[in-house]
């Protein structure tokens, strides 16, 4: 099953690649339409839009998913129900492809809802309590976005069809478009885990590692960014885009800080994904959709690679994910640590790896165009924080001493996993330059003073020095930690957002529903129907029983009384 789906997806990737090159050469885009139902002048159509952006994204998605399925052949070979996982992953890829190729809101809803549900099934795949809670959080956060898209479907009915791409240039200043843009931005924020909704992404690390590599690095979380890239012409002058800018740079900053306090390997990688998502959303909301798309693609490559390396390490450490137990692994697993290093350095933006092209371009565009001081500071600070936690991770995992046990088996020769990682390594090295040639039809001119241009390097060097120092220093020992306990817990626990999404919400609603149930359904509704009428009738019957069972003459007299009343009312 694994090999079949790997070959199918790889073949699909090659087809997409050839079509992408053909389409981008000739500036072609193809639009298929199939009308399903037509009600009262609105038609529900299934449309497929194939232009270079969707073909390129489909190529990347199918490449990563084929490599991940091949990887999970070896990673999850002790799983009895592996076929179930592979089928779920294939359905996930299908939903993602449906989302990518659709210019029509109904088919986007099909893909979007499908993504949310299938990622729920994937996250709860291991049946323990942590996966259960994480799955619920994931599904309900994604559901908010689904509901928003349902409402957008309803509002865009005002324009006569659900093909949103036709309406952007004409309807920009409408009230309806204002509402639609607000809801689309919230939907994209829930899917891409921006600030109010960002607690599901670290929690979703309870999923199996190949699933995390596919879902949480490159496909599910970028669906929101992709939707906003498609909607970009609509949203560019709207007020909410500035709100999105604000929230996404705060996300970038917050997750960078929280990753520095984390000790779980997958959580650090999840928070770094969150930071890069904030970066993508912020450069999108500054008005550069193609750079956001570029960063989306290169990030997918090296993040999937990073997750896969983390998977190998977790396997070797006997399923322990805590980085305090790891160390010195570069001596034992050279090939895996090669992949880990290259993906980490690509994440930092080290020159001429793939991450450099996208990240450096983003930072230069931010410096060149005149934006806010806060935007500038937070961008550079977050870049420095990225380097900081990356180097801290490298120090903990690869350079310090090995902390696990005396007897170990650090085994690198699993060639199935290694081959899949090498494919991504190759792409992670080359895709940066490759994409930067293709995607930018009109090159960006950037003219910066010398020190501003080197600011990235200054910040990176500062971050790396801090990273090395912090992993050696003892500030995590107890006596120093308690001095800044409040600040540390605020920064470490992701600014208390998981509490907002879990304890804060669930207790209020469950309490309220209990109150509703007890007071209305088993209270007043019963009194005014069912039980109340029963009690009234019973009491009246008791009264009449007493009345009738006592004196027969009084009972007979009541008949005469009735006759007199009827006589008075009807004949006078």
């Amino acid at each position: 099953m694994c090999f079949n789906s790997f070959f199918f997806l790889f073949f699909f990737m090659l087809i997409n690649f050839f079509f992408f090159v053909y389409f981008i050469m000739n500036g072609l885009s193809v639009f298929f339409e199939w009308e399903i139902i037509s009600f009262n002048s609105m038609s529900i159509v299934m449309s497929i839009l194939l232009d270079w952006m969707s073909l390129l994204f489909m190529m990347f998605v199918s490449l990563i998913s084929s490599v991940v399925i091949f990887y999970s052949k070896s990673y999850m070979n002790s799983e009895l129900n592996l076929n179930r996982l592979i089928i779920l992953v294939l359905m996930f890829v299908f939903s993602m492809v449906l989302l990518i190729i659709s210019p029509n809101l109904i088919s986007i809803l099909l893909g979007w809802d499908g993504l949310g549900l299938i990622s729920y099934c994937l996250v709860i795949y291991y049946q323990n309590l942590k996966s259960y809670n994480a799955g619920m959080l994931t599904a309900l956060s994604n559901r908010i976005g689904d509901v928003m898209i349902l409402m957008v479907i309803c509002w865009i009915m005002n324009y006569g069809s659900w093909n949103y791409i036709f309406y952007f240039d004409f309807m920009k200043n409408d009230y309806v478009m204002f509402i639609i843009s607000f809801m689309i931005i919230i939907a994209a924020m829930t899917k891409s885990a921006q600030i109010p909704f960002s607690s599901w992404l670290p929690a979703a690390m309870a999923a199996p590692t190949p699933v995390s590599a596919l879902v949480h690095s490159s496909t599910l979380v970028t669906a929101g960014v992709y939707l906003l890239i498609r909607f970009n012409y609509l949203l560019i002058d709207m007020f909410f885009f500035k709100v999105l800018l604000f929230l996404s740079i705060l996300t970038m900053f917050m997750s960078g800080i929280s990753a520095n306090y984390e000790f779980d390997l997958k959580k650090i990688i999840a928070l770094s994904t969150l930071s890069q998502l904030g970066l993508m959303m912020s450069i999108l909301s500054l008005g550069f959709p193609d750079i956001a798309f570029f960063h989306l693609l290169t990030h997918a490559m090296f993040k999937a690679l990073l997750f896969m390396c983390a998977g190998v390490i977790i396997h070797m450490m006997n399923d322990i994910q805590d980085i305090r137990y790891m160390g010195g692994l570069s001596l034992y697993i050279p090939l895996t640590s090669l992949c880990l290093n290259i993906s980490n350095l690509s994440l930092c933006g080290i020159p001429f790896l793939s991450g450099f092209y996208s990240k450096d371009l983003i930072l230069e565009m931010v410096s060149f165009n005149s934006f806010n001081l806060m935007v500038f500071i937070l961008f550079y600070l977050s870049t420095g924080l990225t380097v900081f936690y990356t180097f801290r991770l490298i120090m903990y995992v690869m350079i310090s001493d090995f902390n696990l046990m005396m007897i170990y088996n650090l085994y690198d020769e699993d060639y199935i996993m290694l081959n899949s990682m090498f494919v991504l390594l190759f792409m992670s090295l080359l895709s940066g330059s490759f994409l930067s040639w293709f995607i930018f039809f009109y090159p960006y001119m950037i003219y910066l003073p010398f020190n501003l241009k080197l600011m990235v390097i200054y910040v990176s060097i500062l971050g790396s020095i801090l990273g090395f120092m912090v992993s050696n220093m003892g500030i995590y020992s107890l006596n120093k930690l308690l001095l800044s306990y409040n600040l540390s817990s605020f920064l470490c626990l992701m600014w208390f957002m998981p509490n907002l999404s879990t304890y804060g919400l669930s207790y209020i609603y469950l309490n309220f529903s209990q109150i509703l149930f007890k007071n209305i359904d088993m209270g007043w509704s019963e009194i005014y129907s069912g039980k109340g009428i029963f009690n009234i009738l019973k009491n009246y019957s008791v009264f009449y029983n007493i009345y009738q069972m006592n004196n027969f003459k009084i009972y007979l007299f009541s008949f005469i009384l009735w006759f007199m009343i009827l006589f008075i009312f009807f004949f006078i």
Binding site: M136, R143, I144, I153, D521
Partner: protein, 450 residues
């Protein structure tokens, strides 16, 4: 049409013969396929005779009722195995099917009322006869008296219409316009109680929970839709009054739907949770019919059919768990994926259809209903957002509680054997979607001919 009536009447002696349980069920399947192949003229009524007719709404609902009755018999095979008065059970089911068939296919309003009430009797007998707990007596009382309380004014209304218009043929009613408030309330109150609307919904959790699986299936599948069918027929001549007063019913049902969705979270009984989710779906259906949009009618019809299939399926699944663990409580029914992984797939498919996930028919109905309700008023958007979100919440709550996690440590013995009929419901879910809906435009014309 008479042919189906006679086929059902002649199945009655078949119920009382020996070992005919599966034959009766096969006959019902056969009748379903025969009925599906009727020459369906979607534009108008067809197969008209003195008493009976069929149009697209009746066709869909009769099809649904035959389907669910045959699945009811299949689901209750434990009655056959344990030899627990299955003859009378089969007779009950066939009698109920005859009453339902006649309800949906008669042309006369008084006959419609007669069969509407008559379908309550076999349901009551099912609940009281084959139910499990002693609370079923109270459940039967609630079912009967709530419906009767609502439908006696309906009888008065029908007789008033006969006195005024000298006709009770449903086909002719669209030419008239009765503008009386009292007539309006008396006509629709019965259907609102049957639907059920929020404040008069108390019979539904009791009746669904106490009924055996067949009773629950037919209640969730068809009996609620009787109310919707009645509303769709009766709204034709009450349009003006409705446009003045519909905001009351829409607001009660939408806010009620929100409250009911929240109440689903604190249910401990599986069947009770599914029953409350039925009320939440039906609240949206009421809203859709009351706004008097074309999209509202279409959405409510689609949601009625898909909800009938989906809820009946979920009650079947709840019964599968009940037969094995003898408890409907969520605490005992957890971690079932370890024992019955294939059931996990069916639970997931049906629960995801319940929360209107694509590609189910519920999604189409909900999109249409959301469109029509938001076009009526912008503010209903907030209520609808919360109803959709909470429906996902409780569906996933039910799914994850039942399937995942640890199983209850007190399970002693357990037998697992696979019943292969639930997937037929799924095929029905998908196959109904591609019906020929182009004729809806003509239905609209007929509906609004003035």
């Amino acid at each position: 049409m008479m042919k189906f009536l006679f086929m059902m009447i002649f199945m009655i002696p078949l119920c009382f013969m020996k070992n005919m349980f599966w034959l009766v069920q096969m006959m019902l399947f056969f009748m379903m396929f025969l009925f599906m192949n009727l020459n369906l003229n979607i534009m108008c009524f067809f197969n008209m005779s003195y008493m009976s007719y069929c149009d697209i709404i009746s066709f869909g609902l009769i099809l649904l009722s035959i389907w669910i009755c045959s699945l009811m018999i299949m689901a209750s095979e434990s009655l056959f195995k344990l030899n627990f008065y299955f003859n009378f059970f089969l007779f009950n089911v066939i009698f109920l099917l005859i009453m339902l068939y006649l309800t949906f296919s008669v042309l006369n309003l008084l006959l419609f009322y007669f069969f509407f009430e008559a379908s309550l009797i076999p349901t009551l007998l099912l609940i009281i006869g084959w139910g499990y707990q002693p609370e079923r007596i109270q459940a039967g009382m609630y079912l009967l008296f709530y419906t009767l309380f609502g439908s006696l004014p309906l009888l008065m209304g029908i007789i008033y219409i006969f006195n005024d218009l000298n006709t009770m043929t449903i086909y002719f009613l669209k030419f008239f316009n009765m503008n009386m408030y009292l007539l309006y309330i008396s006509m629709i109150f019965a259907f609102l109680v049957k639907m059920p609307m929020y404040f008069v919904h108390l019979w539904l959790p009791k009746a669904h929970v106490e009924a055996p699986v067949s009773g629950s299936m037919i209640l969730a599948g068809i009996m609620l839709k009787l109310g919707g069918y009645g509303l769709l027929r009766v709204m034709i001549f009450l349009q003006e009054v409705n446009l003045k007063l519909n905001y009351i019913w829409i607001i009660i049902s939408l806010v009620g739907g929100l409250f009911i969705s929240m109440k689903c979270f604190c249910q401990v009984d599986m069947k009770s949770l599914i029953a409350y989710s039925s009320v939440a779906h039906m609240s949206m259906v009421i809203g859709g019919i009351m706004v008097m949009n074309y999209w509202g009618f279409i959405g409510s019809y689609i949601l009625m059919i898909s909800h009938g299939l989906c809820s009946s399926g979920m009650f079947c699944l709840a019964n599968i768990n009940y037969e094995r663990l003898h408890s409907r409580s969520l605490y005992i029914n957890s971690g079932m994926m370890n024992f019955m992984p294939s059931m996990s797939l069916w639970w997931f498919l049906l629960l995801s259809s319940n929360m209107a996930a694509p590609p189910s028919l519920n999604l189409l109905g909900e999109i249409s209903l959301i469109n029509s309700l938001v076009s009526w008023s912008n503010i209903s958007m907030i209520l609808l957002m919360m109803i959709s979100f909470f429906s996902a919440g409780y569906s996933l709550y039910l799914y994850s509680y039942i399937q995942h996690g640890k199983y209850f440590q007190g399970l002693y013995s357990f037998y697992v054997w696979f019943i292969s009929w639930v997937f037929i419901i799924i095929f029905a879910l998908i196959s109904f979607k591609y019906d020929n809906f182009k004729g809806w435009f003509y239905f609209y014309l007929i509906l609004n001919k003035k």
